[in-house]
């Protein structure tokens, strides 16, 4: 889009970054009567939730490749269905592959899942239902907290207290047993949590994997149970599924953000792509607008950043506007990514040894995991602690072209692969020189389960943590805009006392995943932030 200089006019609100949270925030601000101008650096909006063509005729969810349910109120308010969002829930949520040629298949329908698990262990089948129910009850309460603006620690406002009281009441309504569970589970290791319910190792590992996805934690790391609970909270489903609910949008994950963009536009947001921010202008401690790399200056009453906290406050703002102490703390905000993404264009569906017997195609519609046992995952983690990427990685695969055949030429497919662990910082090496090795490791690992995969590959797209940072603007390549951990959660996200979407700079706000709740593709951060920003600006 054009970057010719219009006569300098003062905009209402500028939103930096057109990721899903930026779009959600833009929508709610527009709804509240503001005229947001959303500036996206890349040629298309969507941030980490995009669909791109990476090989002629092959389109893939470049990064995020499936969604748990989006926040219901957001889908409703933004009328995403009317704006073209079509979500399908595959019959199989997760197929977990084992080296011995077996597979543990978890169906989206909890009852069906239990039947399948019963073939491994009657006890676990029952426990799976119990665990699901417990996660559902606890998740419901947590999701209330996720929708809250974290209270002000020093002087909680009456609103804060009311919100906490409401949550507090529903927490009490959990009853002793589940209340203690919340308190006990939060700091636990996912490996311990699943062991309290299941005996079957593959089931333990497959469920525990939810607690490590995207984080710098292993299944034995304390706090991985919290991540598991947070992701369960996002499900908010009638029949909760410990392995998680998987949904695919027609058109790939990018379809979600396209629908959001349409909704935001309709509500009155102006969206400009190819608009790269050089600097956030600050005068006397107040944000006054932005300067684009093109040199164009746009002034505004408020600036809202969908970029991560480090990028926003350490790179876009001149440090002289922040106290050294605050800068130190933001520097200490943990934001080291651990995942890489590999997208493959395939001439045909690979044959998974473990799934053939059960009818290959159907079982490939959900998520396919390589997480055969807890120790496998932990060993994968170990390597990353010392700055190497896992040689036997934890892998999560989807075939977007199965839920939407338009994404690849007839009979051909796209394969979307999350690989963990790929630490942002490599010990005595760099990602450019390791890119090829990374791709080979992933293909080799999967080939152990689908021997014919290599022959079907037409094209690799290998996205290293460094690419995540440089191409998609994720500092440290962290897909959650910062580690999801007890010390960076709720009132501590991104920093204790700065969890309310404001920053030390007046009229500069954060609305990305680096703010509460910041759990993946839910839109929660954007919606919460918009609520606070409207309050602040209407004062």
């Amino acid at each position: 889009m054009s970057a010719e200089r219009p006569i300098a006019e003062t905009r209402d609100v500028i939103i930096i970054g057109g990721g899903h949270n930026g779009l959600v925030a833009a929508f709610y601000l527009a709804k509240a009567g503001f005229k947001p101008l959303l500036l996206e650096r890349r040629a298309q909006v969507g941030g980490a939730a995009i669909t791109e063509e990476f090989h002629p005729g092959f389109r893939c969810s470049t990064l995020a490749h499936n969604t748990g349910p989006l926040r219901a109120d957001i889908v409703r308010d933004m009328q995403l269905e009317q704006h073209g969002l079509k979500l399908t829930t595959p019959e199989v949520s997760t197929a977990s592959l084992l080296p011995d040629g077996r597979a543990l298949v978890l169906y989206s329908d909890a009852k069906k899942a239990a039947q399948e698990i019963a073939q491994w262990s009657q006890k676990d089948a029952a426990a799976y239902a119990d665990f699901g129910t417990a996660l559902g009850k606890i998740g419901k309460v947590i999701s209330e907290a996720l929708a809250l603006t974290p209270p002000n620690i020093d002087s909680p406002s009456s609103g804060d207290l009311w919100g906490m009281l409401k949550t507090g009441r529903s927490i009490r309504n959990l009853g002793k047993k589940d209340l203690y569970r919340v308190l006990r589970w939060g700091p636990m290791a996912a490996a311990d949590l699943v062991a309290e319910f299941f005996d079957t190792e593959p089931l333990r590992a497959t469920v525990a994997a939810r607690g490590i996805f995207g984080t710098f934690l292993g299944p034995w790391s304390a706090g991985s149970a919290l991540v598991l609970m947070l992701r369960a909270a996002a499900d908010r489903s009638a029949n909760p599924n410990p392995a998680g609910i998987v949904q695919f949008p027609a058109g790939g994950v990018g379809a979600i953000t396209l629908a959001m963009a349409a909704a935001a536009k309709q509500a009155g947001t102006e969206i400009r792509t190819g608009a790269d921010i050089a600097e956030i202008r600050v005068k006397d401690g107040v944000a006054t607008g932005v300067v684009l790399t093109s040199g164009e200056e746009i002034s505004a009453r408020a600036v809202v950043s969908n970029a991560d906290p480090k990028r926003t406050l350490l790179r876009l703002v001149d440090p002289s506007h922040l106290s050294p102490d605050f800068i130190q703390k933001i520097k200490n905000y943990r934001c080291m990514g651990t995942v890489a993404k590999i997208n493959l264009a395939l001439s045909a569906l690979p044959e998974f040894t473990a799934l053939k017997s059960k009818g290959n195609g159907n079982l490939l519609q959900g998520r396919i995991q390589i997480s055969p046992e807890i120790d496998y995952l932990e060993r994968a983690f170990d390597e990353s602690k010392y700055g190497n990427f896992s040689r036997q990685p934890y892998i999560e695969i989807t075939f977007p072209s199965l839920s939407d055949t338009s994404l690849a030429p007839a009979g051909q497919h796209v394969m979307s692969i999350y690989m963990q662990y790929a630490p942002y910082k490599l010990k005595d090496s760099d990602w450019e020189s390791q890119r090829k090795a990374l791709g080979e490791t992933v293909v080799k690992t999967i080939a152990q389960y689908a021997p014919n995969l290599p022959q079907t590959i037409l094209r690799h797209q290998i996205i290293t943590p460094k690419d995540l940072e440089e191409t998609y603007g994720l500092t440290g390549g962290h897909i959650f805009h910062g580690e999801l951990a007890l010390d960076q959660f709720f009132t501590m996200r991104p920093l204790l006392d700065w969890a309310r979407y404001q920053t030390p700079i007046e009229r500069l706000y954060l609305c990305g995943s680096g703010t509460h709740p910041g759990t993946g593709l839910t839109g929660g951060s954007g919606a919460n932030a918009a609520r606070e920003i409207v309050k602040a600006l209407k004062k």
């Binding site: 620690i153 020093d154 009490r172 002793k176 047993k177 209340l179 203690y180 308190l183 006990r184 589970w185 939060g186 700091p187 636990m188 311990d192 309290e196 934690l217 034995w220 790391s221 304390a222 706090g223 102490d325 703390k329 200490n332 943990r334 120790d375 932990e378 170990d382 602690k385 010392y386 951990a485 007890l486 010390d487 501590m492 920093l495 204790l496 006392d497």
Partner: protein
């Protein structure tokens, strides 16, 4: 020992003569109760004992340094009068493979200069860090002397307690709040990374974060354990880490002496078969020799697994409580190697006899070294390159060994209780010991030539001989989900149990392990409050 008549009736029978059991007994006896302490072993003190393992050599077999012993207990029981004397343990010496070293001592200026040798920035940060930790301890200490509230009740008294903590938290500067929250949630290394850049400094400091736990220095939650051990290092000289004259057993003996003076009766070699329960109420104990002893209250200082699964007949406890007991994590991760020496170790990086031998010597050369030691343990192997914390008490207390001879006491981590399939501790025991000697020899080669005797204590030994389930020295992991109102079982953190008049008073209750005595004291106060005895 007095002949036992089954008619004898006590107000309180305390199970286990460890420092917590004895503290519990002393407080109850001081309150005029008729108290009987029953210890299974021939010596008192549990894991806080001194034993002449080899002729002339008195080892602090398990616990070997003291720091956390609550001041109010020292005061209330007048322990110095009963023979408690704490000798200072000055500093921590960390030899490095590259021939350098890090030597921190109590002398502030010296330590600063030493750290500055490695990094000027860290020397500055070290002061700040000390101050910050002090503030954190000020916040946590009152909690150590507090009965954990029950967040699940609506009882206003309980909510007041929560409010009290909330208010104390409110009272802190936002800087302190920030640190406190991080300490409660972060890993020792993530926390230290924010302060320091020197790897060896972070490694050796992070060691306090893993002692006795089955966690690595990078595991979230270890920052709290760091604080737990820092507590002692903070206030003045006396409370700094030190030795008890006569070995760690002297602490238990002083407490036992105070208890006896107050009228408590203490029996050793009196193992308990079971706790008698009638109509949901504890009425006494049965010794393994068949003797029945009756009491209004039974107070158990052994861990919940022993108390509730071994000593109580099934069916007396609600299933949910038993689930909690079964879930409670022990996972011993450490061992001890005690040596009788014919001389003193000679460190390559600091040859000769010097003050560095009088403090703690820590084999913790790098963060990666520490974390890799943990990786071995995760998969069921003792660390090929373990973290070792060594002291030579005989340089401070000559009464422990013959003239010219010395004792080297080594705390070793990791030594996982559960070994990989095909391995067992009885066959690994001496290999484990050899590896410790070899590891030390990398830094002080002469060690091999001066060993007269060697005693290896594995987690399995700790379980068999000292009744520490799975060899956990704290009677259960000090992990966040097992602290405060969750220790040992959610809803049962107030020293009571589902069985009326059966109380818990050991390290498995709040505030947990270390020679602190707090659980024993707090439990006694609750027993008296209930007027149960």
């Amino acid at each position: 020992m007095p002949a036992v008549s089954s008619s004898t009736k006590y107000d309180v029978i305390v199970i286990g003569g460890g420092h917590n059991g004895l503290t519990n007994a002393a407080y109850l006896a001081n309150a005029g109760k008729k108290v009987l302490v029953l210890e299974r072993r021939h010596v008192l003190g549990g894991a806080a004992c001194t034993e002449e393992v080899f002729p002339g050599f008195k080892f602090s077999v398990c616990s070997y340094v003291v720091s956390l012993l609550r001041p109010e207990i020292i005061r209330d029981l007048d322990l110095p009068r009963h023979g408690l004397e704490i000798l200072p343990l000055d500093g921590t010496f960390t030899p490095m493979p590259n021939g350098d070293h890090l030597w921190r001592v109590n002398d502030h200026g010296k330590t600063r200069r030493e750290i500055a040798r490695h990094s000027r920035v860290d020397a500055e940060a070290y002061d700040e860090f000390g101050k910050a930790m002090q503030a954190m301890c000020r916040f946590v200490k009152p909690i150590l002397s507090m009965i954990p509230p029950d967040p699940a009740t609506l009882n206003p008294k309980e909510l007041m307690k929560l409010l009290f903590i909330g208010r104390r938290f409110q009272g802190m500067s936002s800087e302190d709040k920030y640190n406190q929250v991080q300490l409660m949630t972060m890993s020792a290394i993530d926390f230290l990374d924010q302060w320091f850049e020197t790897d060896v400094l972070k490694a050796t400091m992070s060691a306090s974060g893993i002692i006795g736990t089955f966690l690595g220095v990078r595991s979230p939650g270890t920052a709290y354990v760091l604080l737990h051990h820092y507590m002692g290092e903070i206030d003045g000289a006396f409370r700094a880490w030190g030795f008890a004259r006569g070995g760690t057993g002297a602490i238990s003996n002083a407490i036992a002496d105070a208890a006896r003076e107050a009228g408590a009766e203490i029996r050793t070699e009196a193992p308990i078969a079971r706790i008698m329960v009638t109509n949901g109420r504890a009425t006494g104990v049965v010794l393994s020799n068949g003797d029945e002893l009756y009491a209004d209250v039974v107070s158990s200082s052994v861990d919940p697994r022993l108390t509730f699964t071994k000593m109580i007949e099934p069916g007396n406890l609600p299933g949910e409580f038993m689930d909690g007991v079964k879930r409670y994590k022990f996972r011993g991760s450490s061992g001890k190697v005690n040596m009788a020496l014919d001389g003193l170790p000679n460190f390559k990086c600091m040859p000769g006899v010097g003050a560095h031998l009088r403090g703690a010597m820590s084999i913790s050369p790098s963060v990666e070294y520490m974390e890799k030691a943990y990786d071995d343990a995760k998969y069921g192997h003792w660390s090929s390159h373990p973290y070792i914390d060594m002291v030579i008490p005989t340089l401070t207390d000559t009464s422990l060994a013959p003239p010219g001879k010395h004792i080297l006491s080594c705390f070793v981590q990791y030594a996982p209780y559960k070994l990989a399939p095909g391995l067992d501790w009885d066959t690994e025991k001496e290999k484990f010991g050899d590896n410790v000697v070899n590891t030390i020899a990398e830094y002080a080669p002469n060690i091999k030539n001066i060993i007269l005797h060697r005693q290896v204590v594995t987690p399995l030994d700790l379980e068999r001989e000292w009744g520490l389930t799975e060899g956990n020295i704290f009677q259960g992991e000090l992990s966040l989900e097992q602290l405060f109102f969750l220790r040992p079982v959610a809803g049962w953190a107030q020293f009571r149990s589902p069985i009326k008049n059966l109380y818990m008073c050991g390290s498995a209750t709040h505030p947990g392990g270390g020679i602190m005595g707090a659980p024993g004291r707090l439990a006694a106060l609750e027993i008296l409050k209930d007027g149960a005895a």
